[in-house]
């Protein structure tokens, strides 16, 4: 299965490193990244493939949210199907 990871917050050094580091630690493969900085505001969207993930999905969601909180970022991990359901017929 695939998940969409969104990261928003104030721009600073090492955001991508921190998030992608956690992904690789738990066997999550990043398939695509789109990222932009508007003024000082950082926004990143990643498409992650979770088939080789070494932890439970709900644990991964909680872990990534906590990782974000510690760095002052809003991190969300949601199943890809939510976006497919809402935006594709």
């Amino acid at each position: 299965m695939r998940a969409v990871v969104t990261v928003t917050g104030k721009d600073r050094v090492g955001i991508i490193a921190a998030i992608s580091g956690e992904c690789s630690r738990y066997g999550v493969n990043i398939e695509d990244i789109s990222q932009s900085v508007m003024q000082e505001y950082f926004a990143m969207i990643m498409l992650a493939e979770l088939d080789g993930m070494t932890m439970d999905f709900t644990q991964f969601v909680a872990h990534m949210e906590e990782t974000g909180r510690q760095k002052g970022l809003d991190v969300r991990v949601m199943h890809e199907d939510v976006f497919n359901a809402m935006h594709r017929i």
């Binding site: 969104t6 709900t58 969601v61 939510v82 976006f83 935006h87």
Partner: protein
């Protein structure tokens, strides 16, 4: 990859516009529990409900995590107890209500619906016993919801039952007076009651439903209000299109959750209820949608037309997004549960008469309206009769959930807490309806031709 703008739109709907799944409700048939011994029936009912819905709450919690969308309520609806316990006395029905309450606590669900009776054409022995038990049952339980269908387009309006419900409302208000008559917030009087409605307090599992079923109620007044605001001063055609598109997106999420919940629970998927259900939270108000259309305040002239447009567009958008639609499906206007409605009623713009007109073009009816505790039972019955007439003549569901708050008067505010919100006590007409209600009998079913 999915379009970036689409992803951000979804995230914004959840984070800032209060998009959620309002309820996942499991319907459970209790026909196989029927028996004339109250002790055995109690035990069978408790066991069947707790066994069948055992995994409802954990599965919903896991779905919330997976999809990142809050599921606000997890509920159970059962076969109307007046059918299952037709042989019981009123005391027996009170015991059944307590068994339902215990089952709800064991499961960790918010509400359980189905303490209900059909009385649209006449009142059977079982229905009469259940109705007599309602005040005590609601006073002695916390999570049990009750409903009585007193009218239908086929049968007309059973005015004997309407008169009785006025009295039952008063008694329920009195017995729960210590908590601002909250018992009445869990009691709904219906015309054309739906058989698959997932929303409380009117949820029940109709006699023609499968053994078990998952029904889902979506929500999202905040998302629609934001979409309307973003459209700016466009014409009504454009506005309706914007609402339709938004309703489509909201409903698709509901459909996804419903399918997944029914798959994981091994229970058939019933319906999606396309309703806009407000909560007292800021930004989750149906009144704000109407105000965003250009009304200074909800309740002023133009409100009924605005609501008609909204209600129709939500259905048109939602129908295409779901494989099966049912329940109440329309905008709700529960006074105490909608921050914009509360404001409008407090300042006097939104009156009972206007609310009644609004119910002719939207879902449900006079919902969560607090009135003075000294309102005569006949006046309550007359309000119910008016609302039933709208439902019966227009071939739609209407309902009344009035709270005659014991010991309180017009202008005071009552706090029900949580999703039930708070409400100003609104004024009613003082002129009597006593002689009208005292007639009794049945208002005949309307003719189905010569429509004008």
């Amino acid at each position: 990859m999915i379009n970036t703008a689409d992803i951000l739109e979804t995230i914004q709907m959840i984070r800032e516009e209060a998009l959620d799944i309002r309820t996942v409700t499991m319907g459970i048939s209790l026909f196989d529990c029927a028996c004339d011994d109250v002790g055995r029936l109690e035990q069978k009912l408790y066991e069947k409900i707790t066994r069948t819905a055992e995994r409802l709450v954990p599965v919903c919690e896991q779905l919330e995590q997976t999809y990142g969308i809050p599921i606000v309520n997890k509920r159970v609806s059962v076969t109307p107890l007046s059918l299952v316990g037709a042989a019981l006395s009123a005391e027996g029905f009170v015991r059944l209500a307590k068994a339902m309450d215990r089952a709800a606590r064991t499961l960790g669900i918010h509400f359980i619906g189905g303490f209900s009776a059909y009385a649209q054409k006449g009142v059977s022995r079982g229905a009469a016993a259940l109705m007599a038990a309602i005040p005590q049952a609601l006073a002695e339980t916390e999570r049990v919801c009750s409903s009585v269908n007193v009218a239908s387009t086929q049968a007309g309006i059973n005015m004997d039952a309407v008169r009785e419900m006025g009295r039952i409302l008063k008694e329920t208000a009195y017995l729960t007076r210590a908590a601002d008559s909250i018992g009445c917030a869990k009691l709904v009087v219906f015309a054309n009651i739906p058989q698959d409605n997932p929303f409380m307090a009117g949820a029940l599992h109709g006699p023609g439903e499968p053994e078990t079923v998952i029904n889902v109620g979506v929500s999202g007044p905040g998302v629609v209000a934001a979409a309307v605001r973003r459209q700016g001063p466009c014409d009504f055609g454009t506005l309706a299109e914007a609402v339709k598109k938004t309703a489509f997106k909201i409903t698709r999420v509901g459909q996804l959750v419903a399918q997944e919940a029914s798959r994981q629970l091994g229970v058939s998927f019933g319906i999606i209820d396309l309703s806009l259900a407000p909560t007292p939270a800021q930004g989750d108000s149906v009144a704000r949608i109407l105000e965003n259309m250009g009304l200074e305040r909800c309740g002023t002239h133009g409100t009924t037309a605005a609501l008609a447009l909204l209600n129709d567009a939500v259905k048109k958008g939602g129908v295409m997004a779901s494989s099966s639609v049912g329940g109440l499906s329309g905008a709700f206007i529960p006074l105490s549960e909608d921050a914009g409605m509360i404001e409008a009623a407090t300042c006097g713009t939104l009156t009972l008469d206007k609310l009644e007109a609004m119910t002719a073009v939207c879902s449900v009816g006079l919902d969560m309206i607090a009135v003075a505790g000294d309102t005569p039972a006949a006046t309550l019955s007359a309000i119910i009769a008016d609302e039933m007439a709208i439902g019966v003549v227009n071939g739609k569901t209407t309902a009344v959930r009035l709270i005659p708050v014991y010991g309180r008067g017009v202008g005071e505010t009552v706090h029900f807490g949580g999703l039930l919100g708070h409400a100003p006590i609104i004024p009613l007409h003082g002129e009597s309806s006593e002689a009208f209600i005292a007639r009794g009998g049945r208002i005949p079913a309307p003719i189905h031709s010569l429509k004008n």
